[in-house]
């Protein structure tokens, strides 16, 4: 039976409201977590400022362009934080056996599992990223037209798909390896390098960070459309397709894990 988009949207809304209600009952936790999120963003920004305090440019990228890349990466990393945060709980659920409850519902397992948690903290990051992005956009003097804005939205969504795919796939490893949290921790740490231009790598690592662990797509390739509008590489134009492919593959991998979990029946 095929369910439409409207059906899933209404379910998502219901689950979201329940989740927010339960979060609000732990007020202190909510405030501290939000504060923590702001702290991480502030610390990242401070690191950035200290770096530029010592070095005026990196590989031909000056302060404004690096700031643009930085803002871009923060926005692109928001959806994975907000909507896909439940992946961090997957390994506990699978290990304890609680995961089985998701398999008994007549809706998509992946959808149901992911929709259960909406992480409000990500909104702080979004605001922080958006202000940096807009500030850098003005400083560079990118024209504000319908086309550029549409491109920005499209490529930001595209970029976010890559990090979602990385985290989906690394979370799903727990179906095969018990306690595979370290895979997620390592992958999550790589995202700190999304804000630097991938042109600094040599050919081998450029390949790895483009096609194996695609962090170069989180900010570098998509933002080239604004940074060097006269010389946009083919990979940039293809990035929406590649992003969709990566997301689809990670989803398939995740579902493969679910099927395996059914078989062991633990």
């Amino acid at each position: 039976m095929k369910r439409g988009f409207g059906f899933y949207a209404s379910i998502y809304r219901k689950i979201l409201i329940q989740d927010l209600k339960s979060k609000m009952s732990y007020r202190a936790d909510f405030i501290i977590s939000t504060f923590g999120m702001i702290m991480t963003n502030l610390s990242g920004f401070l690191t950035f400022m200290i770096l530029f305090h010592n070095f005026p440019s990196i590989n031909g990228w000056d302060y404004d362009h690096m700031l643009f890349l930085y803002g871009f990466s923060l926005i692109a990393l928001t959806p994975v934080q907000c909507f896909f945060d439940n992946n961090w709980n997957l390994r506990f659920m699978v290990r304890s056996g609680d995961f089985i409850k998701y398999c008994f519902r007549p809706i998509n397992v992946f959808f149901y599992f992911i929709s259960e948690v909406f992480d409000v903290k990500g909104i702080g990051q979004f605001i922080f990223g958006l202000s940096t992005f807009v500030y850098a956009w003005c400083r560079i003097g990118i024209p504000v037209t319908f086309v550029t804005i549409a491109e920005a939205v499209l490529f930001l969504i595209t970029a976010s798909l890559f990090m979602i795919a990385i985290m989906n796939a690394s979370a799903a490893t727990c179906f095969w390896i018990i306690n595979s949290g370290y895979v997620m921790v390592i992958m999550f740490r790589f995202k700190d390098f999304a804000k630097y231009p991938a042109s600094i790598f040599n050919a081998v690592f450029k390949f790895i960070f483009t096609f194996v662990i695609p962090i170069a797509f989180v900010a570098y390739y998509p933002s080239l459309i604004f940074v060097t509008p006269d010389n946009v590489p083919l990979l940039t134009w293809l990035s929406p397709l590649i992003g969709a492919a990566f997301f689809y593959l990670s989803y398939k991998f995740w579902m493969l894990g679910v099927r395996r979990y059914d078989f062991t029946g633990s």
């Binding site: 732990y26 202190a28 936790d29 405030i31 501290i32 977590s33 939000t34 504060f35 923590g36 999120m37 702290m39 991480t40 610390s43 401070l46 690191t47 200290i50 770096l51 305090h53 010592n54 070095f55 005026p56 440019s57 990196i58 590989n59 031909g60 390896i177 306690n179 595979s180 370290y182 895979v183 390592i186 740490r189 790589f190 390098f193 630097y196 600094i200 790598f201 040599n202 690592f205 790895i208 662990i213």
Partner: protein
């Protein structure tokens, strides 16, 4: 000395437990290698753009060694006291720990010691050797290695004490992720683990000098690179004394806080 035997038994148990997760060690090591590559290319580009060989007394290799070993140290020092404590409070298991004929702080420290030993030999040492080779022997070999290991052990104790000082906050707030992320961000930034302290602007660096965090990453790494004794950092002996000072101070406050907080524990059922 039955007491020491009791403690090393915990270390042994920890070693055996850590060896169970061999795959984890391999993946962490592999992750460190890729991370190493990221740091290498980033700083190579930075130094190439600046056109200078030495920035703030740090050469490219110095910076590279500093940051990669800081990452390896991060894996080595990592303890999950905050998570453990809040989880055992939620499940009620904390009562079992409190009933043990050993103080909770001591027990936790020694049960982690085994995983530290394993992590030192299986991830820290290989990373160290690799950095040594890549930077073509830029790490001076001599007495500084002995002091470094000593300083590393002290750093481990400071890190543990910071963790123990922060963990009881969970008893009051029921927030684990939040408390942990705040602690981690502050420690990593102000200890020099994200960016070497010598790059910090003068004003901020002055403030950071008086905080305990630099004793976790910056002091051991400065000793290793032979920077201690020169410039403003002070002699090696002085650095070790600063570390010991922080261990004493933090454990006094940690103890006071823990003793107060433990009376607060409420376990529902269990």
């Amino acid at each position: 000395m039955t007491n020491i035997r009791k403690l090393t038994a915990l270390t042994r148990a920890g070693i055996i437990e850590a060896l169970q997760f061999r795959l984890g060690t391999i993946v962490t090591l592999l992750g460190n290698l890729i991370y190493l590559a990221l740091v290498y290319y980033l700083w190579k580009a930075i130094y190439a753009s600046s056109g200078m060989d030495v920035v703030n007394g740090m050469t490219f290799y110095d910076t590279m060694i500093y940051l990669v070993l800081a990452t390896a140290m991060f894996n080595l020092l990592e303890v999950f006291v905050i998570w453990d404590m809040s989880r055992s409070i939620q499940s009620g298991e904390i009562i079992m720990h409190l009933l043990k004929p050993m103080r909770y702080r001591l027990y936790t420290f020694w049960s982690y010691s085994g995983s530290h030993v394993i992590s030192f030999f299986l991830t820290f040492l290989p990373t160290f050797v690799l950095v040594f080779i890549i930077t073509k022997g830029a790490i001076p070999l001599g007495m500084n290695l002995v002091y470094f290991v000593l300083s590393l052990i002290l750093a481990l104790m400071i890190n543990y004490n910071v963790e123990m000082l922060v963990a009881p906050i969970c008893l009051y707030t029921e927030s684990t992720w939040g408390v942990n992320i705040v602690k981690e961000t502050i420690v990593l930034l102000l200890s020099g683990a994200t960016i070497p302290l010598s790059f910090f602007p003068e004003g901020i660096r002055k403030v950071v000098e008086y905080l305990p965090f630099r004793a976790i990453y910056d002091i051991p790494l400065s000793i290793l690179l032979g920077k201690a004794g020169k410039s403003s950092i002070g002699s090696v002996g002085g650095c070790l004394c600063i570390q010991i000072f922080w261990i004493v101070l933090l454990s006094i406050f940690g103890n006071l806080f823990w003793n107060r907080a433990v009376k607060k524990i409420t376990v529902n059922g269990g």
